[in-house]
């Protein structure tokens, strides 16, 4: 635990059920979240991200391991004694209270003087631009407005950490985009650590300072959005974030962070290798936008050769599905140019040219920093 850490999660596991029906919803998770960081827990549904959030909030207690808040162990502290607040997925606004009463609830429970509560509520209403609707019942306002009230309610007691459980999933696309910007603004203005749970990779990439990718209760990788996208630790992360082409091959040599790989689809390719890469069978990742299609005749040396199986038009770009010699499907995403460009016909033999340093050697599908 470092002084700049806000939350430290140390080897936390949460096991539900007993006997044969035991399920580890969170399995040996170890992460540190820094002060004033926008930290995202990303993963498919059932990966344990929400359970981890509930452990931090205090709605569940860890089966083993510790949760530290500013260096203090809060693993067994009930939620009403943790200076951590939550924005719930369905907002959980109290239906029998007005917008104002909802926002002031936490301060009232902390027995703050009435004047202070009123002033703080007014400030929060301003912060989320809801002054006009202060006296409304929460079922008389729209989904986006409910979202703002939930945020204001959780921020009003000035918690050290704000937890957000897929708070944008119930909103439509346009509102979601607006709220994403709003959330970033609020985080910057309040200086509070945000821990954000989502299954939406785009949301995670655009909003987060750092992301932890989770699957089956384990953390697979922690890093900045760019690290996660460009240098996924393993195949699962590569598949989950963005689109990916995975090529099978054998590493023949590793030198200076570059691996020389003989591909199952034929040919040889240089790939960026993570630390500690060794020779032997391996998988290569190539993002679809990091390759382009070329005519089979006169293709540059080292290009992959295959048959164009399908071309799908997407407006801004076209996805070409190429079947390689070993049967692997390889997708190339190419931006569309003004009309007149030579098109490729389905069934034609084509070459796939991978840009230099675009291929990356993937690690084993082992979670990093966790004991299996």
């Amino acid at each position: 635990m470092m002084a700049s850490d806000s939350i430290a999660i140390e080897n936390v596991s949460k096991i539900f059920g007993s006997g044969d029906a035991k399920v580890a919803a969170v399995d040996g998770v170890h992460i540190s979240i820094r002060k004033n960081e926008f930290f995202t827990l990303l993963g498919p549904s059932g990966c344990g991200k929400t359970t981890l959030l509930r452990l931090i909030a205090g709605f569940e207690f860890p089966t083993s391991g510790h949760i530290l808040l500013d260096g203090t162990d809060v693993s067994d502290t009930p939620p009403f004694r943790r200076p951590i607040n939550t924005v719930f997925q369905n907002y959980a606004l109290f239906p029998h209270m007005t917008v104002e009463e909802n926002i002031g609830f936490g301060l009232k429970m902390l027995d703050r003087p009435k004047a202070e509560v009123a002033a703080r509520v007014a400030a929060m209403l301003r912060l989320v631009r809801m002054e006009a609707l202060a006296g409304r019942r929460t079922n008389q306002i729209s989904g986006g407005q409910q979202q703002r009230v939930a945020l204001a309610r959780a921020l009003a007691p000035a918690p050290k950490v704000l937890l957000l459980d897929e708070p944008l999933s119930a909103l439509d696309y346009k509102l979601r985009k607006e709220m994403q910007i709003e959330l970033k603004r609020l985080q910057a203005e309040t200086g509070i650590t945000f821990i954000f749970v989502t299954h939406d990779q785009e949301e995670a990439l655009t909003m987060s300072d750092r992301i932890a990718v989770m699957a089956a209760g384990k953390v697979l990788q922690v890093g900045t959005p760019r690290e996660i996208y460009d240098a996924p630790a393993n195949r699962f992360v590569a598949d989950f974030i963005g689109e990916s082409n995975i090529l099978a091959g054998t590493v023949e040599a590793v030198a200076g962070g570059v691996a020389s790989v003989r591909l199952a689809a034929g040919g040889r390719m240089e790939a960026v290798a993570p630390d500690g890469a060794s020779t032997g069978p391996a998988s290569l990742l190539v993002r679809p936008e990091h390759a382009r299609l070329a005519a089979a005749a006169g293709a540059p040396a080292g290009a992959l050769v295959g048959t164009l199986a399908d071309a799908v038009y997407f407006g801004t770009d076209t996805h070409f599905h190429v079947r390689l010699a070993d049967g692997t499907d390889f997708t190339v995403r190419q931006q569309n140019r003004p009309a007149g460009e030579a098109a490729f016909a389905v069934g034609e033999a084509v070459a796939v040219v991978v840009e230099p340093r675009a291929a990356r050697l993937l690690g084993e599908d082992q979670p990093r920093g966790a004991v299996p």
Binding site: G58, F59, F80, F94, H96, M109, L110
Partner: protein, 266 residues
């Protein structure tokens, strides 16, 4: 010309429904109409009059029985609702624990036992206690009514609790409310319509009871229904209709309130 095809239409169903509503309301309607009969007959109409309402209001036995009915119904409904509320809190929104199924079965048992059997059982036990203690007051009737009202009060309270979002209480805890304050500020206000509905159900069930009261009551402890049951054996005058009409009006008021309360969902 054939009418346009309607997927919801089933031939003859509307006719049967009309018959059903007629069946449900004709006896009540006749009852109410003859309460206003000027003559003493239940079948020959002699003009409109309120004389039978006046007669009922001046009948000391009727007044006494009505007051006793209300006393019992209010006491039983209050105790039953309080006990049922606590029991509902104990048995909902929880992973199973030892004793949960038993509690659940015990609360619902009175719904499955025929009334006459409960009545006989209480007669037997209370007769012993009356002999042993010499106490013959209203306590027996109130205890009996409370017991069979509990499952009825329990139903809407439990339903309300189960429909309640657990996240609301989690949110309260997250916002620094201790368990007791969470209950006072969040759970109880949200549960209130259910408790009110449960109380009214229990009240009406107690007020309507004939069989169990008939068996448990000591001499001179007639409630309005048992008084009416006794009168049905004699020559009936429209005074009975007048009493029934007032009773009916009271029921309709309570049902209407119940309907409005249980319909309100927020």
């Amino acid at each position: 010309m054939a009418r346009p095809f309607d997927v919801r239409r089933q031939r003859g169903f509307t006719l049967i429904a009309a018959f059903c509503f007629a069946l449900l309301y004709l006896p009540i309607a006749v009852l109410v109409v003859y309460a206003f009969n000027a003559g003493p007959s239940l079948s020959r109409w002699e003009g409109v009059s309120l004389r039978w309402f006046v007669a009922a209001a001046n009948n000391a036995q009727v007044i006494e029985a009505s007051i006793r009915s209300l006393q019992i119904a209010v006491s039983a409904a209050v105790v039953a609702t309080a006990a049922a509320t606590l029991a509902a809190l104990a048995t909902t929104r929880t992973p199973p624990y030892r004793g949960l199924t038993t509690t659940y079965a015990a609360i619902n048992l009175p719904l499955m036992v025929p009334e006459i059997v409960t009545a006989v059982a209480l007669l037997i036990v209370f007769a012993r206690i009356k002999m042993a203690t010499g106490y013959t007051g209203l306590g027996y009737l109130i205890a009996a009514h409370t017991a069979f009202c509990i499952p009825f009060a329990y139903l809407p309270i439990r339903a309300r609790l189960e429909g309640m979002d657990l996240n609301l209480e989690r949110a309260a805890a997250d916002l620094y409310a201790t368990p007791l304050r969470t209950f006072r500020h969040v759970t109880l206000p949200l549960l209130w319509p259910g408790i009110l509905a449960g109380f009214m159900l229990a009240f009406v069930i107690s007020l309507d009871d004939v069989v169990i009261t008939e068996f448990v009551k000591s001499g001179g402890q007639d409630t309005l229904p048992t008084y009416m049951l006794g009168q049905l054996r004699r020559a009936i005058t429209p005074e009975m209709n007048a009493i029934s009409t007032v009773f009916l009006a009271l029921s309709i008021v309570v049902v209407t309130v119940f309907f409005l309360v249980s319909r309100k969902r927020d």
